[in-house]
Amino acid sequence: MPFIFINGQPYQVREDTNLLRAAQEAGISIPSLCDHPDLTPYGGCRLCNVEVKGLRLPAAACMLPVTDGMEVYTETEDLVEARKSILKLLLKNYYDSGNGNADKPNALLKWCDYYGVDTSQWTRKEPRYAIDSDPNPFIRVDLNKCILCTRCIRACAEVQGRFVWGLAERGFDSQIVAGSGVTLLEARCESCGACVEYCPTGALTHKPSFGAELPEKKVQTTCAYCGVGCNFDLNVKDNRVIKVTSNPNAPVNGVHLCVKGRYGYQYIQHPDRLRSPQVREYLLKGMPKPPAGESPWVTVSWDTALNLAANKLAAIKRESGPDAIALLSSAKCTNEENYLMNKLARQVIGTHNIDHCARLCHSSTVAGLGMSFGSGAMTNTVADIVEHAQAIFIIGSNTTEQHPVIGSKIRQAVLRRKVKLIVADPRRVDIAEFAQIYLRQKPGTDVALINGLMHIILKNNWQDQAFIDQRCENFDAFREVVEKYPPELVSKITGVTEKDLYKTAETLASNKPAAVFWAMGITQHTTGVLNVLTLANLQMLLGNMGVPGGGVNPLRGQNNVQGACDMGGLPNVFPGYQSVTNEAVLEKFNLAWQTTHADGSTPPLFNNKAGLTSTEMIPMAGTGKVRALVILGENPVMTEPDANHTRECLEACEFIVLQEIFPSETSHYADVLLPGVTFAEKEGTFTNTERRIQMVRQAIQPEGETRPDWEILADLAKRILAVEKRRPTGSHAGWDYASAAEVMDEIAAVTPIYAGVSHARLNTGAQLHWPVKDLNHSGTPILHIGEFTRGKGKFHPTEHLDPQELPDAEYPFLLTTGRVLYHWHAGEMTRRSQGLLDVYPDAYIEIHPEDAEALGILDHQQVRLSSRRGIALGKALITERVSPGLIFANFHFAGEQNGNNLTIAALDPVSKIPEFKICAVKLEVS
């Protein structure tokens, strides 16, 4: 470690660092403007110049490597004079139009203040550039404050990986510009706000909060959009969320965020929020149920609404048994709430009919990985992969749009570490731009594709035989099937050239460890489980399991879908994946949750058969087998396949309790509406895609009469128990929780993988990835080290199968559905956040230019898609992202614009996941 002298004092400093950083660490501040610890140094502003013994001229500390014995002086009279001059020079081109961002410190003005430079005397008196010169709804550009430090350029390139900003012209005319001198969005800006976050002067500011007052407090919490699990600070003033700011201590994302996390917060206090409980008038008047939506809503007290719901549910249970009731839990809600939902279903109602959107999402992953390894979750952390992987294989994940912060980390791994990136996706998604190899396979051919790669690997003897021999089983049966997938055949099935197949196999085999990422492109098929098994085979074959930088990494979608699964929001398992068919487990929960009936008896709480999946319970609601649905934070009308059928089923359902924050498409069919709260109004935990359990902290008081969801659930449970005259007598049977923390303590007590989790630990900053075996265990960032959860990893031979519905003469296009960066599923939240809708205002339908031309469709023209099940309207977006014959639609816009009007409810036989990714449609100009 080098020894250096700063201002005459000796210091021991880190090696491989620059003087600025070394001095900072030694507690000596050297003024700086263009430098930022996250970004590569630039050395442009010259404010950090210091005097170094032996050097003719002062040197920029931010770019000066420390060397042993170096003698530097950081604050000599000459330097102070020079800094004043430099600041004055910067001020000469600095024009302040007056209304800044109140709480973003302006580094230029700060240093002027520090060195006593009178800003009013030196600043420009009239603007040089247009103020607020870019139409991006999130990023406010005012180059009059720009000091050309290029931090924005480096942030966009090095943090977000988008390279929107650049420097144009030279010398005094230098100017930062977007792209080739166009608007930010035209230059493909993803509105992540990173450039703003790194701008030291306020030349770039957050437009939605421009001019906002100073916050009273900042509350660190976890993003409620996607499973990346970013943390940020909610800024609060007068019980209002006035903005989101980065929190550098955020464990997953640091100061980085995506557009939804940073700017998509306005829904929180949107006027449309449900603010008090409502019930249908017919219920109050004791009338028969009219057709859905016809009976008007009546605002009632919590007592009225909850009693009504409790009585009705108890009655249905009494009449038709507990399995006539089904519950949909919510991946948007906390672990604590999902645990309570699962307890409500199993203990109070006595049914395993509980499921949630994970069914539509990663149910095939959970099933498949369970079969292969014994655990259905992502095995490695993102930081681990980004740091250690030599290759990354992304298949069926639009990472930069759907898991944006992970997407930008992968971009960085490619840019900085030259990680080999392979992307396989029928759509040329953005991340493909960063790939060495991009494979455009035909939709629904992933088993064949992966088998084809493994065929080549085996043919060349590239497999990790030692790993296979020691840690896996059933290899020979698997090998036999893979034999049947030679490149010629695979190329024919998938449309990928043999050359690309070979190149991919070779890249994977020669760059280890390799991590595989996937998402809905793999899971949402009738072959979803087969797809997952095949990817598991690949990673075993290459010996990429249980190692840093490798693993199988399904990217979980919703903010807390991992947690909702962990908490037993599934029909076949109690919390912690304890099977409902396991007698010991049943025994355990019967004891823990025991209730005593009025007659003193304690009959078993539940049976030992898995309940209904969401894709089963809704059709069964249509047939009357399921008489009541209790839905927490989901919007099945929009998000289940074949929406017209879903509508029919819900129409037919006798009683629907919906706990929501907005009147949604589904609320049209509900009978009781219970107003829950957003993540900003409650306490709890989310578990991100990496199995990392993180705190959600209350920032504001609940809106109107709303109550935190966990309180509502506890209240409803108590009322049902009261109607049924049951007393909780088991060790964890009660519902009197004083806080969400207490719920977590109960979770820990009954859930081995969460045994060591508590709010107290999390609040002291512990980073816990389950399994967390006890309060002293530090969690498990990487799964299956040394041994798989199930013992040996099992190879499953898999065969290619055709999707359920392929294009034909009548419906000649293949439709695949999914999402876009700026919106969230059914859009209830994102369509209520200013700006998101400005950028992406319509249901765009991606069409290949050739198809558009053949049908005479123009860009942005209104078009109409129809399938055997319904129609969907939207605007044409003509792009080569899709291949000819392939159409991509989303499900972010309601009613006639919903892509799910078209999709098919064909299910994977094992996991019951619907084939959202493939059906046949017809395309017309409307």
């Binding site: 709804p137 012209e169 080739s180 400005d838 080569e880």
Partner: protein
Amino acid sequence: MATPNHSYALAAPTLKNLEKEYPLNVPEQKAIIDRILETYCDVPGGLMVILNEIQSRVGFISQPVQEYVARVLNVPVSAIHGVVTFYSFFTTEPRGDHTLKFCMGTACYVGGTPQLIQKAEQILGTKTGRTTPDGKITLEVCRCVGACSQAPVVVVDEQLYGRLRPSKLPALIREITKASSNSSGE
């Protein structure tokens, strides 16, 4: 409120889209650019080589061309735009049929270039950095062409004229415009 942007980045401008949005106007131009790109796309650091070629063969590097090159090379267009605007040889707009480049290097400055420029601007009715309204002649200033011993120097297209006096300018310019109308077949 911001104007909604419908050409939203999601539809990353694909080649076909791009050509529609940023027409590379003349097909011959596209052919030339494609050939240049093909020849030099694998040269390490070849961007400068490519831009130099495009500048000299096409005559300018327009915004659509920048977008196009970025797309083909898979390089951020911001980087290309940065390079194009950094170097003074690259122009984003077409030049006139002929360029008159006045050397403003030290020797020529001292030797009387300012007077030459004044005279030329008067004769042509345009300013340095601009092109005459008929698109025939562009006036430019450069910094030393390395012929200082003949200061002041003017470069007409590739031809060098030294020891020029303002009084000789009218004849020189007459000659250029004559040559130009001949070559354009009028």
